[in-house]
């Protein structure tokens, strides 16, 4: 019998560093000249600088560096794909293995919270111009923080009742606890940014603002053609995850769950199902593991929880009654003759998200519905955009980076306008 990991949905799965282990890890850092890790961070979090601070016992200084450069430093510490970013660039790879940069970042932010540090402060002298941000996801939050730091009055419109976007409604809390997201968002609130919740921003809401930032993300599901798609029990990933987060105890994850897809989102859905008590959870991916976009470590993690991974098949029909599905038929992707039938009462499609209609905002979209921008997120006139809605769905840290860049463009735009 295999021993599987028992974890809790709301409790962080990976333990963090203690003061001692953090120092030990920081001591492994080579303190590089012109450090490659810092160049590897899209959001400019500057790991080489904050690791050096930890190494020289200046943990508060480390937290400061992170916070100043990346307002979502706590969340990024949990969910960044470091192995493609800073840790991949790390010089120490040439000796043995990279510095655990994400974990050190997490440690510094945990200390920040412990010490009740307030790093970010808005200047008391305010600028005259007002800026609106649509959506309270990573891109908007990063943009708003930069603007507030420069003294602009920022209002964020968010249609949900909480801020965070995918951080709050998508990613599993065992990977990214809500308290971490909330702590990051508190930094933005602390800068005086105004949040208007439960409000889908309309064109007329935005008229009074001197500039508008659009960071609405991707919230429409990309569902493949499927017989029985209308049956109860068939979900899109975003829907499934959001319901799990918001309905809490009232959410029924299903007993036998099949998640379709091979990315991080598929794994989050499978983990959610498993941690919420589903008996049998299986990831169904049409290609091979080698071709899967998800990190192999995430597959390892799913496996360690007892989640099965089946490759080479994709679903063609959900079968059951109007009120309950009970099985799914799948066929081979490469092996055209392969056929399989799985009993299942929840079928979750983690096969990508697509943009919703953005016509309320003065932005152009391409054929896929993504907002078209020039360098620095300029979408024409007073409109700016960044994050998933522009890049087609990438990562939190890239949304932060682009949000920061857009803020710089907005400031340049408003300054130019002010001169005139």
């Amino acid at each position: 019998m295999s021993k599987v990991v028992k974890a809790k949905y709301t409790a962080e799965a990976v333990p963090g560093f203690t003061h001692r282990t953090a120092l030990e890890e920081a001591a492994r850092c080579l303190l590089c000249h012109d450090a490659p890790c810092s160049k590897g961070c899209p959001a400019g979090t500057d790991p080489a600088k904050f690791i050096r601070s930890i190494r020289f016992r200046n943990v508060k200084g480390a937290a400061e560096t992170i916070r100043e450069n990346n307002v979502l430093g706590g969340s990024c510490a949990r969910v960044c794909p470091y192995d493609n970013l800073c840790e991949e660039a790390c010089s120490r790879c040439g000796i043995d293995r990279p510095i655990e940069i994400g974990k050190l970042q997490r440690y510094a932010i945990e200390q920040e919270k412990l010490f009740k540090m307030k790093t970010l402060k808005a200047p008391s002298k305010k600028q005259a111009e007002k800026v609106a941000c649509v959506g309270a996801g990573p891109a908007s939050l990063a943009c708003a923080a930069e603007l507030a730091k420069a003294g602009y009055k920022v209002t964020i419109f968010e249609r949900e009742e909480k801020a965070g976007g995918m951080l709050t409604y998508g990613i599993v809390p065992s990977r990214l606890p809500q308290s971490v997201v909330d702590h990051d968002i508190a930094q933005v609130k602390g800068l005086g940014v105004k949040f208007v919740f439960n409000t889908e921003a309309k064109a007329e809401d935005l008229e009074a603002f001197d500039a508008v930032f659009v960071g609405t993300g991707l919230w429409d599901a990309n569902l493949p053609k499927l017989k029985g798609a209308e049956l109860k029990g068939v979900y899109s990933a975003v829907d499934y995850l959001k319901q799990a987060r918001t309905k809490k105890k009232d959410f029924d994850p299903g007993k036998r769950v099949i998640v379709v897809g091979g990315g991080d989102v598929a794994i989050d859905c499978a983990v959610t199902a498993k941690l919420l008590g589903a008996e049998d959870v299986r990831i169904l991916y049409r290609r091979t593991i080698e071709e899967a976009p998800a990190n192999i470590n995430e597959f390892h993690y799913a496996l360690s929880l007892g989640i099965g991974i089946t490759t080479g098949l994709y679903p063609v029909a959900a079968i059951g009654t109007k009120t309950k599905m009970n099985k799914v038929e799948a066929v081979g992707f490469y092996d055209k003759k392969a056929k399989a039938e799985f009993s299942c009462d929840a079928l979750v499609f983690a096969t990508g998200q697509k943009p919703e209609d953005q016509s309320a905002y003065g932005v152009d979209v391409n054929e896929k519905g993504f907002v078209k921008v020039k360098k620095g997120g300029k979408a024409g006139g007073k409109f700016f955009a960044a994050g998933d809605i522009v890049n087609g769905g990438k990562t939190v840290v890239e949304a932060v980076a682009e949000g920061k860049e857009a803020a710089a463009s907005i400031i340049a735009y408003l300054e130019k306008k002010g001169v005139k």
């Binding site: 120092l23 920081a26 120490r92």
Partner: protein, 452 residues
């Protein structure tokens, strides 16, 4: 088959199973502890110092320094001598000497007057001690009549040594020296003059390890206050090696030892103490002429079991070097430790960079720029160091490079001097070439060993 070598040797005429002894401290404070250490493989024990004075200790009494997450780089204690009744201590020693006749239980004593020293020496003799050590070196005694204040007073060292030597003329007396002095040789000479057979060193170094900012005092904190007290452990090894070397190289001490009654043909028989943790540390103390080594801090941190790797590691070292007995290499480094003015200053060894091993961290570049001679240019594109003509061969780069074997001693450049002996340029001419070749090979080998 595991490598086996004979580690036995004679120390002050006494047969020892090996040179590994506990130094006088809480690691050897009662019968059961010392019995266990003998069972584990230690050759002997300098029992916790016994006085007529019975110590009244403070709590807490330890602190440590650490670096980059590595604990116990150095260790500070505020202990004095034994806090057990004098008679009980001698009873422990008596039983240990009776039950472990092959192991050497040394009585460490400390008096505050000639009479006390005499009395303690007599008690040690009655317990059967084959060697007595006099503690002239504890830096945190609550009385100025004892400890390192005595150890830096030549008259007292001599008269107390004489008190012991005359009371128990058949037992060799070892005077334990303090490093809190200007010149240890002078105090060692005083001890030998008074009749001591040899000296041991070092005791702990007066220190303040850390400041506690809650109480604004040192650490450890005792009721809001702290004191200067003794520092030991790995951090002090270099200082200990230096003192031992100076004592061993002192011609007067060697002459006194040879002419004295405790001459067994080895010259002065030093016992080395300070920061010893591994077989390599032991071998180093032996190389500078010690015939006995003593350990406390490493045992406090890791336990008696460290002796297992000391013994096995030393045997492997001897096997590798072709030694069958410790006597074959004791003192081997002494002739090569010479005054700075006698060093050969005719050449420099340039660093050689292995491009393949280099991981592009740039540490060599930073250190050479900020702390040496701006002799490394940084190739930003390739992320590689490039040596220029400024290099003086100091080897700072080699010491900071984190990759083993990446920077190594490379080409040797000979200086050309003018008639006043001032170096004017580097040699390129053929007259030097032969010498250059041979010297290079030898130096390379020596340097290789040094850095690996």
């Amino acid at each position: 088959m595991a490598v086996k070598k004979d580690l036995s040797l004679k120390y002050l005429g006494v047969d020892c199973l090996n040179p590994f002894f506990l130094s006088s401290s809480p690691v050897g404070g009662n019968y059961d502890m010392v019995a266990k250490c003998y069972e584990t493989g230690w050759g002997g024990c300098f029992f916790k110092t016994v006085g007529i004075f019975v110590a009244d200790e403070c709590s807490p009494r330890f602190d440590q320094t650490n670096k980059e997450g590595l604990p116990w780089v150095g260790f500070k204690n505020m202990e004095q001598i034994s806090d057990k009744p004098t008679e009980l201590n001698f009873e422990y020693m008596y039983r240990l000497i009776r039950d472990y006749p092959e192991h050497i239980t040394v009585a460490s004593i400390m008096g505050s007057s000639v009479d006390e020293w005499k009395k303690l020496a007599k008690m040690a003799d009655e317990a059967g001690a084959k060697i007595i050590e006099g503690n002239f070196s504890c830096p945190q005694m609550t009385s100025h009549d004892m400890g390192s204040d005595v150890g830096t007073n030549n008259e007292l060292v001599e008269s107390y040594s004489r008190a012991v030597a005359e009371t128990v003329p058949h037992i060799p007396f070892v005077a334990k020296m303090t490093p809190n002095c200007k010149n240890m040789e002078e105090h060692a000479r005083a001890a030998l003059k008074g009749g001591a057979a040899a000296v041991s060193a070092i005791n702990t170094i007066k220190s303040i390890t850390n400041i506690d900012f809650e109480n604004n005092t040192g650490m450890p904190v005792v009721d809001g206050k702290s004191s200067i007290s003794g520092y030991s452990g790995a951090a002090v090894k270099p200082i200990a090696l230096r003192f031992c070397t100076q004592v061993q190289q002192d011609e007067e001490i060697q002459r006194m030892a040879k002419e004295g009654k405790w001459n067994f043909g080895h010259g002065h028989e030093m016992s080395g103490i300070g920061g010893i943790e591994t077989w390599r540390d032991v071998a180093e103390f032996l190389a500078i002429g010690c015939r006995n080594i003593q350990v406390t801090t490493a045992i406090m941190q890791y336990g008696y079991r460290i002796v297992e790797d000391m013994a096995s590691g030393l045997m492997h070292f001897m096997d590798e070097k072709g030694y069958d007995h410790l006597d074959e290499f004791i003192g081997c480094a002494l002739p090569n430790l010479i005054p700075a003015e006698d060093l050969n200053r005719d050449y420099k060894v340039l660093p050689a960079f292995d491009e393949k091993k280099c991981i592009g961290c740039g540490r060599c570049y930073i250190s050479c720029y900020d702390a040496a001679h701006q002799a490394i240019d940084w190739n930003e594109k390739k992320r590689r160091p490039e040596l220029n003509d400024n290099c003086v061969g100091c080897h700072l780069c080699l010491n900071v490079c984190p990759v083993q074997g990446c920077i190594t001693p490379g080409e040797i450049k000979w200086k050309v001097r003018d008639e006043n002996g001032v170096a004017v340029r580097e040699a390129n001419d053929a007259t030097h070439i032969k010498f250059k070749k041979d010297a290079r090979k030898e130096k390379k080998l020596a340097l290789k060993a040094q850095y690996e």
